[in-house]
């Protein structure tokens, strides 16, 4: 197990290093001059050069990269060119919003997707399955901005069940936070719920017709134990991978939902920094997203070994 962990951690570090190069190079390939953006259109050439030197932009590229890497490693992602606030502070303020939102969305998607997926598999060929399939098709095909608008129009403005916008930190008031985050989480998680449902259904159908399930019934296992303890347990491996991949996508994809519900999240920060060519902020944002992906992938891999004992061996655990 230790060897497996070390090798996976090593791979993660390499991934992050590569990502940092790509981020660094990619941001510099963007059109526009950050010094000009910082100094203003009217700045004199001397003032521009001063700003450039101040930002370190007059140094060779590899020196700039080295500075970027070493300071990033020490937790310093620079300061925003636009506002002068440290990037870590900006991220620290916005990331929790998006994390709470994404986690809530994934949780909702998991509960909804697993439950409906199991129902669709067990009640195969009935109205229940047709209904669940229809719902999942809707979840996949309805764009989130439209779903968000509908939710605000009917559930927030019309019925007044939920607030239409705003954010309350769960650390301050968990109940109010839940209240505020529910609509955005439903909108953000709808697609994921549909994907989880489809995967659960397909996996369950496969496992329910597997030989070992038939053998379990031949031992005298009850219908419910066959469904939950045998088929569902073995379907979870696939679902976990999927959810892991989706979670990464949700964090970077919350932009639209945050915009609709006016949440001061990571997505908003990303958009603002891109529009103002705020290099340090863009770099920081992309690095954090990459880090999130890497951490989530690592977590998925570790979860695998819990869910599927076969992976423990092939991973060199023994």
């Amino acid at each position: 197990m230790a060897r497996f962990l070390i090798s996976r951690l090593g791979q993660s570090v390499v991934t992050l290093l590569l990502a940092s190069v790509v981020v660094f190079a990619g941001v510099r390939a963007l059109p526009g001059d950050p010094a000009l953006a910082a100094a203003g259109e009217e700045a004199t050439p001397e003032a521009l050069a001063a700003v450039r030197a101040d930002l370190g932009l007059d140094q060779p590229v590899w020196v700039q990269y080295w500075r970027f890497l070493t300071s990033a490693l020490s937790g310093d992602l620079g300061t925003s060119v636009r506002t002068g606030t440290p990037v870590t502070e900006l991220i620290g303020a916005t990331l929790p919003v998006t994390l709470w939102l994404s986690l809530y969305a994934v949780l909702l998607a998991l509960v909804l997707g697993l439950a409906t997926g199991v129902v669709a598999a067990v009640r195969r060929g009935t109205w229940a399955e047709a209904g669940v399939n229809g719902l999942s098709l809707l979840g996949l095909s309805v764009p989130s901005f439209w779903l968000g608008l509908l939710a605000i129009l009917y559930l927030a403005v019309g019925l007044g069940w939920f607030p239409a916008s705003g954010y309350v930190s769960p650390a301050e008031d968990p109940l109010r936070a839940l209240h505020h985050l529910t609509l955005p989480a439903v909108v953000l998680g709808a697609g994921t719920a549909a994907v989880v449902m489809r995967q659960t259904r397909a996996s369950m159908l496969q496992n329910l017709s597997a030989d070992y399930v038939r053998t379990a019934r031949a031992k005298g296992a009850s219908r419910s134990s066959v469904v939950l303890r045998f088929a569902l347990r073995n379907s979870l491996v696939v679902v976990v991978t999927l959810v892991g991949l989706q979670l990464g996508g949700l964090i970077s994809g919350a932009v639209v939902t945050e915009r609709i519900f006016g949440l001061p999240g990571f997505g908003k920060l990303t958009l603002d920094s891109v529009f103002s060519r705020d290099y340090p902020v863009i770099e920081g944002v992309v690095l954090v997203v990459t880090l999130a992906y890497v951490v989530i992938n690592l977590a998925v891999d570790l979860l695998y070994t819990v869910l599927d004992p076969r992976i423990r061996v092939s991973g060199g655990a023994r």
Partner: protein, 534 residues
């Protein structure tokens, strides 16, 4: 279970009937697949159900337990278990009644040990589950009993092994686990559905011996479903022969297989490639003949993930095959016989050693085991068969079409099938297509890797006859990889016995079968079912 019925069930034979099936009809949707099956298993008796695939033998077993898949249902007849009529429960899918039946009154040992254990649960827990489900034991008591059961089923170091997962067990060991599971709740009747057909002969024999001992010790009865006539004769008191959903013959094993009354049974018995059947081996082609395939000191090593040491799959194998003859390579799984075949075919590069074929690479062509997996389902037969020609850029469209027609004639398939796709063909027909494809480039050597193992006895007999005829007509040379010594004896002139990557014995079929010199060969030969009886 209920007390022994004093009047009815202890009938004329003086033995209680544990299982009585009368006029059983089963349908999948609108398709009736069982047409009135009658079957009786008395206490302490062993009954074999034999037949080809699709004969309904496994369906009969599944129907008795209410385990028909998909749209399958019992549409007529009566089933009594231990004197209780359970027909109503089977028809009405009364899960409560069926759960008391399954595992407790009737245990099931399924066919494929690789797929029948839950991959994510420890083995001991899976055995203990049977006890818990029937309320026989719980907690630590169930765990301890599970270890005992595993021990009885012949698993060494059962206490430690019980905490392992199925993937840490070999096929034979998994089958023992399945037997332990089936016997856990001490059912009076055990249904074993092809319990050993996925296992090597020596392992098969150990498992069957074990099953014999355990059922005898408990006074349990056995219903053995098998395609293997010799095995049925050796292990059972009564034999029931099924064909197309009907019982065509039933009676004491020796009588049914010794003097079959039914025409189908007679064909089945005649088709079984008995090890003692043919007097002497096939005649060799006349004249000296050259060696068309020469293999020298072949070694193949593989790296195994997480292990420093390389695994030697093939370890210094040398042999030569004379033109127009067949050399069989026999051995159990893991012996290196298939790797040898892949090296000869050039599908893998040897670590050291050499494969020399008179002619060249194209003069060696393969036929693989699985006629379902080895043909691309999206291609027509014509495309499948002329693929080697197209790859070799041999001839134009017209000449290739003519060649495909010729090849279809050679393997005795109608030319009218050329535009069909594999899904429309039977297993035997598919294997003929695979043979036609192998012959397309006029090779000198054909490597047949378990080419008849997936086929039913009757079909296997036809394909073997086809291979013999093609060899005689075209002067082909065969390298015949098989685990089945009886088939090897039927087709081959020479034989190589492999074990753990090495050739332990080689010689002519007559010599090796009559007087094996290596202990392992003798062991293999004696493990073949029916050998002792013959």
């Amino acid at each position: 279970m209920s007390a022994v019925d004093p009047a009815g069930t202890a009938g004329a034979a003086g033995r209680e009937e544990l299982l009585r099936v009368e006029g059983l009809h089963v349908a999948y949707g609108a398709d009736t697949v069982l047409h009135g099956v009658d079957l009786t298993v008395r206490r302490g008796h062993r009954v074999a159900v034999v037949g080809a695939s699709g004969s309904g033998k496994s369906t009969t077993a599944a129907a008795v337990l209410g385990l028909l898949q998909g749209a399958g249902r019992v549409t007529g007849g009566r089933v009594s278990v231990c004197g209780d009529d359970v027909t109503a429960a089977l028809v009405g899918r009364d899960e409560g009644r069926l759960r008391r039946l399954r595992g407790r009154q009737v245990g099931l040992v399924p066919q494929d040990p690789m797929s029948n254990l839950n991959p994510s649960a420890r083995v001991g827990r899976q055995v203990a589950e049977t006890l818990r489900m029937h309320g026989l034991a719980r907690g630590a008591a169930a765990r301890d009993r599970a270890v005992e059961l595993l021990e009885e089923a012949g698993i060494p170091d059962a206490g430690r092994r019980a905490r392992q997962y199925p993937h840490e067990f070999s096929g034979g060991m998994r089958q023992r686990v399945l037997i332990a599971m089936a016997l856990a709740a001490e059912p009076e009747l055990l249904i074993a559905d092809e319990p050993t057909s996925a296992l090597d002969v020596t392992v098969q024999r150990q498992i069957l011996d074990h099953l014999d001992r355990l059922t005898t010790a408990r006074g349990a009865s056995l219903l053995l479903v098998t395609h293997d006539l010799a095995l049925a004769a050796e292990r059972c008191d009564d034999v029931l022969v099924m064909s197309e959903g009907r019982v065509v013959e039933t009676g004491p094993a020796r009588r049914v297989l010794g003097e079959p009354a039914d025409a189908y049974t007679r064909r089945l018995v005649a088709a079984a490639p008995a090890t003692a059947g043919r007097a002497g081996a096939r005649p060799r082609p006349e004249g000296p003949g050259e060696d068309v395939l020469v293999v020298r000191d072949l070694v193949k090593e593989y790296r195994v993930r997480g292990q420093r040491e390389h695994v030697r799959a093939v370890d210094g194998v040398s042999f030569a095959v004379r033109a127009g003859t067949t050399t069989a390579v026999v051995g159990e799984s893991g012996s290196g016989k298939t790797t040898t075949a892949r090296l000869v075919l050039g599908l893998e590069a040897p670590t050291s050693g050499a494969v020399d074929v008179a002619g060249g690479r194209r003069d060696v062509q393969p036929v693989f085991q699985d006629p379902y997996g080895s043909l691309d389902p999206t291609m027509t037969l014509e495309r499948l068969i002329d693929e080697p020609l197209r790859i070799a850029r041999a001839g134009d469209a017209r000449s290739r079409r003519a060649r495909v027609g010729e090849l279809l004639d050679q393997v005795a398939l109608s030319r009218g099938l050329a535009q069909r796709r594999p899904a429309e063909l039977s297993g035997g027909q598919r294997q003929r297509v695979a043979i036609a494809r192998a012959l397309a480039l006029n090779p000198r050597v054909v490597v047949l890797d378990e080419a008849t193992s997936a086929l039913d006895v009757l079909v296997q007999q036809q394909v073997l006859a086809l291979l013999e005829r093609l060899q005689d007509e075209l002067g082909l040379t065969y390298l015949f990889i098989t685990h089945d010594l009886a088939v090897a004896r039927h087709l081959a002139h020479d034989v190589l016995v492999m074990r753990a990557g090495r050739v332990v014995e080689q010689g002519t079929i007559e010599d090796v079968f009559a007087s094996p010199r290596h202990e392992y060969t003798a062991q293999l030969l004696s493990a073949i079912p029916g050998r002792a009886a013959a």
